[in-house]
């Protein structure tokens, strides 16, 4: 995988939760979904730049901790007002017990 970056260990994130991952001046979010898969998106809400890492994950929905905007962690799709713009998403890869994400 080109540009794959080791972000965390698989057991660093509880199931149905997320962590913040800062890299090269950007903030991303890495999710451990209930289906056991890992997903990655931009880490700031597209509404008011609030860190999503403090939000609640419910299934595949991550909720902004400030205004309750919601995104689908698989697609980055905005799912509930006040968010209107989708999140960027990044491919992930598991190698051993490490989570890698592909950043542009």
């Amino acid at each position: 995988m080109p540009n794959g970056i080791g972000a965390c260990a698989t057991d660093d994130i509880n199931p149905e939760d997320l962590i913040r991952f800062d890299h090269a001046g950007a903030t991303d979010a890495i999710y451990h979904a209930p289906d056991g898969r890992f997903y990655a998106t931009a880490g700031l809400c597209t509404h008011e730049n609030v860190h999503l890492c403090d939000g609640l994950v419910m299934g595949h929905l991550v909720e902004c901790p400030k205004h309750n905007g919601q995104f689908d962690d698989r697609t980055g799709a905005a799912k509930r007002a006040p968010v209107c713009l989708n999140l960027k998403t990044f491919a992930t890869r598991i190698q051993g017990d490490a989570v890698f994400i592909e950043l542009p």
Binding site: D17, H47, E48, N49, D54, G55, L56, M58, E63, P65, K66, H67, N68, R80, A81, P82, C84
Partner: protein, 361 residues
């Protein structure tokens, strides 16, 4: 003394953007992630229970009021109905707008629409104004929900206990929204994709009020208006009483809710009507914690917060004289003392933002 420009299109708002007061990073007490996840967890049970009690009581009180209409015995039933209609709808609008009251999204939406209608707030517009209130709480020129602007206008405040200024403002705005969509100031916080919804909601409200008024005229009785519309006035006092305490007399233009927001310990009936929003510092600091978990959150973070006022009366005894002083000096505000165990936050930034403002003695 500084003259404030509370207009969303004015100079203070522009200055807040320039100085970084707008959309700033606000203080949060450290709470372990596991604990916070547990606090934020959604449940349907408490809100279903409370909603059945609320609407059940409203139906019973209105039925008794109608049955006893024409006698003095109807009065206590209308007063009770009015408080549930004109005050409990404020907290239901608020919590369901946040999407935290119920776990099930459509339940939040249904109660939000009903409550918005009762409290006379366009559900589409106010969802967005409240988002801004949480982003820029009491930042002058940014927050569209500053209840007490300086200098306070006491006639308006007292009129609000009977819903007078709000109702007078609501109907022309509703008609304006129904005909043309959001106003220019509303367009500063409502995204364009929602403008059609603002208009549609206003049209629905206008239709319901027109039908109610027609029924009253046809029957020659104000009874239909006692059920729909008027309770927003004769039952408003409780939500104004609790709502003014949220931020009244406290600092503006700070990015720490401990300094601009007030928590007040209240009796259980007021807490039911207010849906625990008396824990208002806690709510602003962690808006995604549902109302039913706020007492637990309070216990967890109270070491980092100013002590709450011990009653509604005590809070008014603190706030009202401060508002009176603001008549003569708009810069005056009540300084909040943090407990020794609390972490200070951006003291220099606040000093610069508050300028020569005078803290409470």
């Amino acid at each position: 003394m500084t003259k404030r420009d509370y207009s969303l299109l004015g100079t203070d708002g522009a200055r807040a953007v320039e100085t970084g007061l707008a959309a700033a990073e606000w203080y949060h007490t450290d709470v372990p992630r596991k604990v916070m996840k547990d606090l934020m967890a959604r449940k349907d049970g408490p809100a279903i229970r409370d909603t059945i009690i609320l609407y059940g009581c409203m139906i019973a009180f209105a039925a008794a009021g109608i049955a006893l209409w024409g006698t003095w015995w109807c009065l206590p039933f209308w007063l009770a109905y009015g408080v549930l209609y004109g005050s409990a709808s404020d907290s239901r609008w608020h919590e369901c707008g946040h999407g935290t009251a119920f776990r099930t999204a459509w339940m939040n939406d249904v109660v939000h629409e009903i409550a918005s209608f009762m409290i006379m707030r366009n559900s589409a517009t106010w969802r967005w104004s409240h988002a801004r209130h949480h982003t820029d709480t009491y930042i002058v020129g940014r927050d569209p929900e500053i209840a007490i602007m300086r200098p306070p206008v006491f006639a308006k405040l007292i009129g609000s206990f009977f819903g007078i200024p709000e109702v007078i403002a609501f109907f022309p705005r509703m008609i304006r929204n129904a005909l043309f969509g959001p106003t220019e100031d509303e367009k500063t916080f409502v995204p364009q994709s929602q403008w059609a919804k603002v208009r549609r909601v206003a049209q629905i409200y206008a239709a319901i009020y027109a039908a109610t008024l027609a029924l009253a005229l046809w029957s020659g009785s104000i009874l239909p208006l006692m059920v729909i519309g008027l309770p927003r006035m004769y039952g408003a006092w409780h939500h104004v009483m609790t709502g003014l305490l949220q931020h009244g007399g406290l600092a503006e233009n700070v990015v720490d809710h401990r300094l601009n927001t007030r928590s007040v310990l209240m009796n259980p009936i007021s807490r039911f009507i207010y849906w625990n929003m008396n824990y208002h510092v806690e709510h602003h600091m962690f808006p995604m914690v549902p109302y039913h978990a706020l007492p637990r959150l309070h216990e967890i973070i109270k070491h980092d917060l100013p002590a709450p006022n011990r009653s509604i009366a005590e809070a008014f005894r603190e706030m009202w004289p401060a508002l009176r002083r603001q008549l003569a000096n708009e810069d005056y505000f009540l300084g909040r003392t943090l407990p020794p165990t609390a972490k200070p936050y951006r003291t220099d930034f606040h000093k610069a933002a508050l300028g020569q403002a005078l803290p409470a003695e």
